[in-house]
Amino acid sequence: MSEPSAASGPPGPRLPRPPRTGLVWAYGAYGLAVLLAYLLAGFTGYSYESEERDSLPLSVRQAPGGYRSYHLWHSGYQGGK
């Protein structure tokens, strides 16, 4: 028996792929934006953790102990269990 050569594949229509809807594209765009934001944050050194900024006079370095953090100074944090 000789094998039929170079079969051209199944004779029938290819299976269709429904188009991506607008919502799917929006989902993809959103995901891409989130990923890019993540990469951007990583490479620019961004951190979302809260911190306060201020400017100190250089004299602070010459007066250790004379400066008290405004966390304690102003809020008077009282921790403990």
Binding site: S2, S8, L15, P18, V24, G28, G76, G79
Partner: protein
């Protein structure tokens, strides 16, 4: 070799040395060459014009070999109708068989079987036909045909009226086979013809060009070539839209089912006439996949399942070049259905495969015809029943229908109502359905592919950050809690001391995040620490506060603990240069404990990864929930729902 017909005396010529039969063009006698001379095998009836549009003597190419259409035979199917086979003489001297049915072409060659072929009676549609050497095909048809007519030159003894037992089989690799068992009681063994499906373009017969030309004619419709006949029951005028191919037609006036293979005759008188107007009228022309199809018939069928009866409509569509298709209306959901060769789909446990795609079994039952309108390519009968099974991979659905002598596979593709309306240019919208169809795709079904793409990108992004984040250590220090001062604002409950430390200057590269890690070995105690990161050059200060607390004990015989003795904080990137840390610790812990501090820059931010995952997970979960609900709705109509959907249902 030139001869004269023994019947009519007309001149005839055997062009090929190895042909057996030449059909006389004048009297249609089959003239055979034997070792005793020439003989007539009988006379054929007139041949119908070729449905394929091919003509004797036309030439083409197959796998590089030129060929000529040397002969044609027409067989009558036991269920009515006929099909034709062309005999091709190739340039290398071989004879081949070129068959054409339902728009599909196949080239076959007589082949010696690698193993003994099973007896005709031992085979049935749907069974596997093993040809040896790993070739196994699905049997699509198992029937007896009769030789009706022929023309040209034939490579075998072809006797008018001979009954031929045959088996047709094919597989999903494009291979096709016919086993010719000859007449009942034939002394010769079965003959195997093996080949493959081919595209018209491959053959170079000009079929594709002719088809394209004909399809491009917008007004081309078989309805225009209709033939008017009178119903033998009521005398009503009946238009045959596909004369020559339709074998039965329903009278629109009296409902009689008529045999239209020859002169109209009554097949059944009791058919019911439905006065209701169909959504798509007979004769309407709709364009699908670029081909104009005419609605020639309409069936209503029903299937009985343990849960009840499900009925649907099937519109039979016809285009001269593409053949027959179906438009199925399952309670407001439409599918365009293309017949497949029987071996194109492979049925397995709980599913089927087609072109590498898995389909899940959705339903199985027995479908019967309950109403008939228009004309059909077979002799349809009310109550005609077949075993059916539907397999789905939305928007596609594979359907298998099996009768005693035939196995049919078809591929349905879901169409939105708007697509059907546009295809037929219908003036009104089609009736909507409030159910999910078996093969209706979830509207946003391609979100899964997008999610996979995003997941791959996520992995890539995280890998990039892991590789690029070198976590360079900028400073490590140890600060014993000594020499503290009492906090003047402390209460009796929070009595403690404050300690202030400054680190020596250390360098930061700038432009990268900075992680500060604190560790204080607390034991059932707390410490509030204020951390200032000061850029010495500008005096810019960034500060945060954090509480370290660690408590533990034994309660009701069980150990417990809460809090942590360490904490990390991630500063955003700041300027490059020399920095110092100022640490102020407020704690009631006894003096002597050591506060460990480390500073690193360009670290991998695990917290940001958490946020990233959360931000991606929320829309993904919403889409997954919506998709899952849709699938549960779909599968609520099936007895074969996947177990993960059954577990989530209310039933």
């Amino acid at each position: 070799m030139r001869l004269f017909c023994p019947s009519c005396g007309a001149a005839l010529e055997f062009r090929y040395d190895d042909s057996f039969v030449r059909v006389c063009a004048s009297c249609h006698s089959a003239v055979a060459r034997t070792d005793r001379g020439i003989d007539t095998l009988g006379q054929f009836a007139d041949l119908a014009p070729s449905g394929s549009g091919l003509e004797l003597g036309a030439s083409g190419r197959y796998q590089g070999q030129p060929f000529v259409l040397a002969g044609r035979a027409e067989y009558a199917h036991p269920a009515g109708g006929s099909w034709e086979e062309w005999f091709i003489k190739l340039g290398d001297g071989r004879w081949g068989w070129l068959s054409h049915a339902e728009g599909r072409w196949a080239v076959l060659f007589r082949t010696a079987a690698a193993r003994q072929l099973p007896a005709f009676e031992a085979l049935a549609p749907g069974e596997r036909l093993s040809l040896g050497q790993g070739v196994e095909l699905a049997i699509g048809e198992h029937a007896v045909a009769s030789a009706r007519g022929a023309e040209g030159e034939l490579p075998f003894l072809f006797r008018p009226g001979a009954l031929v037992r045959f088996v047709d089989a094919s597989d999903d690799q494009g291979r096709v086979a016919t086993v010719d068992y000859g007449e009942h009681g034939a002394s010769e063994g079965p003959e195997l013809y093996l080949g493959r499906w081919v595209s018209p373009a491959e053959l170079g017969l000009g079929v594709a060009e002719a088809a394209a030309r004909r399809s491009a004619e917008p007004s081309r419709a078989p309805a225009g070539t209709g033939q008017r006949l009178a119903c033998p029951n009521c005398g009503g005028s009946i238009e045959l839209r596909v004369p020559g191919r339709s074998l039965s037609v329903a009278c629109p006036y009296c409902g009689s089912l008529l045999d239209c293979e020859g002169p109209l005759s009554i097949l059944a008188r009791l058919a019911e006439v439905d006065a209701g107007r169909p959504a798509i009228p007979l004769g309407a022309v709709g364009r699908f996949e670029g081909v104009a199809y005419t609605v020639t018939g309409r069936l209503r069928r029903q299937a009985k399942y343990p849960g009840g009866v499900f009925d649907w409509e099937e519109y039979l569509l016809y285009a001269p070049d593409a053949g027959y298709r179906w438009l199925v209306n399952a309670r407001g959901h439409y599918s365009f259905v293309t017949p497949l060769p029987p071996g194109a789909a492979i049925e397995g446990d709980g599913g089927a495969r087609y072109r590498g795609t898995s389909f899940k079994l959705f339903d199985r039952g027995r479908a019967e015809v309950t109403h008939v309108w228009g004309e059909f390519y077979w002799k349809v009968a009310l109550g005609e029943a077949v075993d059916t099974a539907d397999f789905i991979a939305p928007p596609a659905m594979l359907s298998r229908e099996r009768s005693a002598s035939e196995l049919h596979w078809s591929l349905g593709v879901y169409l939105a109502r708007e697509q059907v309306k546009a295809a037929f240019a219908l003036p009104k919208s089609l009736e909507a359905s409030d159910e999910v169809a078996a093969n209706q795709p979830f509207r946003h079904m391609r979100w899964t592919g997008m999610a996979v793409s995003l997941a791959a990108l996520l992995v890539a992004c995280v890998a990039v950050r892991l590789v690029s984040a070198d976590a360079r250590q900028a400073y490590v220090g140890r600060f014993p809690l000594e020499g503290g001062v009492s906090d003047p604002s402390a209460t009796a409950a929070t009595t403690g001391s404050s300690y202030v430390f400054f680190s020596p200057p250390f360098e930061l590269s700038g432009g990268r995040n900075v992680e500060v890690e604190l560790e204080l070995p607390l034991s059932n105690n707390w410490a509030y620490t204020s951390v200032d990161l000061i850029h010495e050059g500008s005096g810019a200060l960034r500060t945060y506060g954090t509480e370290l607390s660690y408590y533990f004990g034994v309660e009701s015989g069980e150990r417990w603990s809460e809090g942590s003795t360490s904490d990390t904080h991630l500063f955003s990137a700041g300027p490059a240069g020399s920095h110092v840390l100022r640490l102020e610790v407020q704690t009631p812990a006894p003096p002597g404990e050591v506060l460990r501090v480390s500073v690193a820059e360009n670290v991998f931010a695990a917290g940001q990864l958490g946020w990233l995952l959360l931000l991606l997970a929320v829309p993904t979960a919403l889409l997954a929930l919506a998709h899952g609900a849709f699938e549960r709705w779909r599968w609520s109509n099936s007895d074969f729902a996947p177990i993960y959907l059954r577990l989530g249902s209310d039933e």
